[in-house]
């Protein structure tokens, strides 16, 4: 549980620290000060919506972090027991990792192009990123196929079971991301030709970029875990 504890302690520290900072040196019973310290953002509803969705994604990523941290804790606790025999990680995982990195890079490029208001580039990069993600997922399925052909089934050994479990959970998260990607792609089609083409999709691109970066980090951690244990 150490991993979870450290991660959650970190998250809790951020939350508690933020809350304490917001709440010290305030005399709540004094009337009328709050209006002055009113956050300027709130005067701009568009910005506020964008923030809300972004914060919503942030909260979701915190939940997902907790989920993966707990899975990893379980892995490390289970690993210490006697019957653990490490899995031979299929080589294809290296290629898959590369694809996922490329996908993430393209999302970042798309996101950067949004700032430069270059609609064509945003569209291209965004599409390429999604395609690379598909390739990653197909690669993961191929890794499963190779493993099960080599006789590494889910129930043989906890290391196998964890491998299938982690890749499945991670893959499902990516799959969820791809669903949003598909919706956004449709939005691109709709937006084509309309005046602020980039603006219509800007937020979706940004959220996808954050989400993909997060899942890339998760995958790198999981992959490192597989390799070193």
């Amino acid at each position: 549980m150490t991993v979870t504890l450290i991660l959650l302690a970190g998250m809790m520290a951020v939350i508690v620290g933020w809350l304490i900072r917001q709440t010290t040196n305030v005399s709540p019973w004094v009337a009328d000060t709050g209006v002055q310290e009113y956050d300027n953002n709130r005067n701009n509803p568009d910005q506020l919506q964008a923030d809300s969705v972004k914060i919503g994604l942030g909260v979701f990523l915190a939940v997902a972090t907790s989920l993966f941290a707990l899975f990893i804790s379980a892995y490390m606790m289970r690993m210490e027991l006697a019957d653990w025999s490490p899995l031979n990680d299929p080589d294809i995982l290296w290629f898959n990792t590369a694809f996922l990195v490329v996908a993430s890079v393209y999302f970042q490029l798309a996101h950067n192009s949004v700032k430069r208001l270059d609609a064509n580039k945003v569209r291209t990069y965004f599409l390429v990123a999604g395609i690379f993600t598909f390739i990653f997922l197909i690669g993961q399925l191929e890794a499963w196929r190779q493993l099960s052909e080599a006789g590494y089934y889910l129930s043989n050994n906890p290391a196998n079971a964890f491998f299938y479990l982690f890749t499945a959970v991670h893959g499902l998260h990516l799959f969820g991301g791809l669903w949003v990607w598909c919706k956004t792609t449709l939005k691109f089609a709709e937006a084509k030709g309309k005046a602020p083409e980039v603006a219509i999709v800007a937020r979706s691109v940004e959220l996808c970029t954050i989400y993909w970066h997060f899942l890339l980090v998760v995958w790198l951690v999981l992959f490192a875990l597989f390799i070193y244990t």
């Binding site: 549980m1 979870t4 504890l5 959650l8 302690a9 998250m11 809790m12 939350i15 508690v16 809350l19 304490i20 917001q22 709440t23 305030v26 709540p28 019973w29 009337a31 009328d32 709050g34 209006v35 002055q36 310290e37 009113y38 709130r42 005067n43 701009n44 509803p45 506020l48 919506q49 964008a50 923030d51 809300s52 969705v53 914060i55 919503g56 909260v59 979701f60 915190a62 939940v63 907790s66 989920l67 707990l70 899975f71 804790s73 379980a74 606790m77 289970r78 027991l81 006697a82 019957d83 653990w84 889910l154 129930s155 906890p158 079971a161 479990l165 959970v169 937020r203």
Partner: protein
């Protein structure tokens, strides 16, 4: 005043702006079934939770019949007894209390109390309820599955949860785990809403430190739940794999019923760590909203500001943070490394300090107050008394040495019922008597309410206070029958019979409450907008019950905290949060 127009659309997610905020559903189905209005969702959550809670209440009645009169009722056998124990606990903790406090009160109160028109993501909020309903239905379905519901205890410990010898070890447990997974998915959707709404959709002037403690409690509980439920999710998935595919995450080599099974090498303790990593925060997921709500009830009905608001907020934050590092106090006698005992006993007893502070501050709020003994106030006082009792028995069980003697006995049962069953449920009742006038526009009947209070408060104390002493004697929990032992005297059986009678009376008395809810809906006294003369925003709405959008054309602006009661020099003994300090200062908006 363009500001106002902006506010209209400010608090909905981008994709839904057009449909949701501007479209007010007209049909019955749009309004009450596929509703995206947090208030309707709140009522859907509440009715479902109370409904399934009544099922759990009946199950507990059946258990008590067996314990009180072990030779009488032929329809209770050892299997159905532990199935009832399991499902009773699971429903009460998760499907009733968690869902009611967060899905019910959270949905109703957060937007109203922080001055928002709705949750930030109404569509996700609606899905959250329907997934919760699906979770409840799957749970109910497990009763009718072959072999019945699981009888593994609400902690669902492997190996027994998935081995023969425990009822429902094939279908029951899998459906239970699926139901939990669904609940967690549904809750996460709701929880995202509660957190982001509190962070983003507060109205102008509603700084964090002006939020009512109800919102603080629900907010912190939601954060805990979002971070802790994944632990249950992880263990549920891994146990499903152990059960169906034969992996050995939690399963060591076992010989079940004389047969060698294929499992090998897993660790049941691993499951316990994961489970309690969720399970202990869960206690505070239920307790913190209750703490928050009761603070507001006490303040409103004592006509006095909450004493030490800042400490109350920090206590909520501290309890929330600490609740993640105390989980293994449920495992002192589980066979984990004994040195953990030192650490977890220390952290557990530390958490008593902020909790005790909250109790002091509730009592100190009453002190020098002007206490109206309304029904919500009675429930709040009942809560304080019960919670003090349940809290101090926690000092027994949290202290590792004392726990060794008392764990797995009725002392534990009595303790957790006092502290996380009766206490929160008294708050739930108080809160319903308090907010029912806002939800329906009518008051609940006072006489029925007082009758309900007295039977519930005295009855539950009569059930659980003596039960501690059975535990001190050493009577073990989760026993179908005590039979003959060398240390349990005959008198213990008489006590059990007495407890059962009290439990049945309390159980039946809840019908008074249900009757009151139904009858007052059409015949209750007209409440008016603010019958309790309260300061918080939900009582300042232009309509009662509040319409879709909550606050009419203009969102309220908040000028003060939620506890301006008995302010010296003020005209009335309360000042609503949206009342400007001086009548002329409204121009500060611009």
């Amino acid at each position: 005043m363009t500001q106002v127009a902006h506010d209209e659309t400010a608090f909905a997610p981008p994709a839904e702006v057009e449909e949701v905020e501007l479209y007010h559903p007209k049909t019955f189905i749009g309004k009450y079934i596929w509703s995206q209005d947090a208030k309707v969702i709140a009522i859907q959550y509440s009715i479902t939770a109370i409904g399934i809670g009544l099922v759990a209440l009946v199950l507990s009645g059946i258990m008590r019949l067996q314990l009180g009169f072990p030779d009488t009722f032929s329809f209770i056998d050892p299997s159905s007894y532990i199935q009832n124990v399991t499902i009773h606990g699971m429903i009460m903790v998760i499907y009733l209390l968690t869902a009611l406090f967060l899905g019910g009160f959270g949905n109703y109160l957060i937007p109203l109390m922080v001055g928002a028109r709705d949750m930030v993501f109404p569509y996700v909020n609606m899905i959250s309820y329907w997934v919760y309903l699906a979770a409840v239905l799957v749970l109910v379905a497990s009763f009718f599955a072959p072999g019945g519901a699981t009888g593994a205890g609400w902690t669902l410990y492997p190996p027994q949860a998935i081995l023969p010898g425990t009822p429902g070890s094939d279908w029951g447990i899998v459906l239970m785990l699926i139901s939990l997974a669904l609940f967690i998915v549904g809750f996460t959707m709701g929880g995202l809403n509660y957190v982001v709404t509190v962070l983003q959709a507060r109205t102008r002037g509603m700084s964090l430190m002006r939020m009512p403690l109800t919102i603080w409690g629900i907010f912190m509980a939601t954060i805990l739940a979002l971070l802790a439920f994944p632990a249950l999710f992880v263990s549920a998935i891994m146990m499903i794999l152990d059960q169906t595919i034969g992996t050995s995450f939690f399963m060591p080599a076992v010989v079940s019923m004389g047969e060698q099974l294929d499992y090998d090498g897993g660790s049941p303790i691993l499951f316990q760590h994961l489970f309690w990593f969720f399970g202990h925060p869960e206690v505070y997921i239920v307790a913190l909203p209750a703490f928050g709500i009761v603070s507001d009830l006490i303040s409103v009905h004592a006509r006095k500001n909450i004493f030490g608001y800042r400490m109350m907020v920090w206590a909520i934050i501290a309890i929330g943070a600490l609740s993640f590092i105390v989980w293994a106090h449920h495992m002192y006698v589980s066979g984990m490394h004994p040195y953990f005992g030192f650490f977890f006993a220390t952290t557990t007893l530390i958490i008593a300090v902020p909790t005790a502070l909250k109790v002091y501050n509730w009592v100190l709020t009453l002190w020098k107050g002007n206490i109206r003994l309304t029904v919500p106030m009675l429930f709040a006082i009942g809560f304080i008394f019960t919670f003090v009792n349940g809290g101090i028995t926690g000092l027994f069980l949290g202290n590792v040495t004392v726990d060794v003697a008392l764990s797995d006995t009725y002392f534990v049962v009595a303790h957790f019922h006092m502290v996380m069953a009766v206490s929160p449920i008294l708050v739930v009742f108080g809160a319903i008597y308090h907010w029912y006038p806002k939800i329906t526009g009518r008051m609940l009947n006072d006489t029925l309410g007082k009758t309900h209070f007295w039977i519930t408060f005295l009855g539950t104390y009569a059930i659980y206070y003596p039960m501690h002493y059975l535990g001190i004697l050493g009577v073990p929990r989760r026993y179908y029958a005590n039979g003959v032992t060398d240390f349990i005297p005959e008198s213990a059986q008489s006590l059990n019979a007495g407890i059962t009678v009290a439990a049945l009376i309390v159980g039946v008395a809840q019908l008074i409450f249900i009757y009151n809810l139904i009858i007052s809906y059409s015949r209750g006294k007209e409440a008016g907008g603010n019958p309790w003369e309260a300061t918080t925003l939900e009582w300042q709405t232009p309509d009662t019950p509040p319409k879709h959008g909550n606050f009419g054309d203009e969102l309220p602006v908040v000028y003060r905290w939620a506890y301006d009661y008995g302010v010296p020099g003020a005209e009335l003994d309360y000042i609503p949060q949206n009342q400007p300090p001086r009548p002329t200062s409204t121009d500060s908006e611009a």
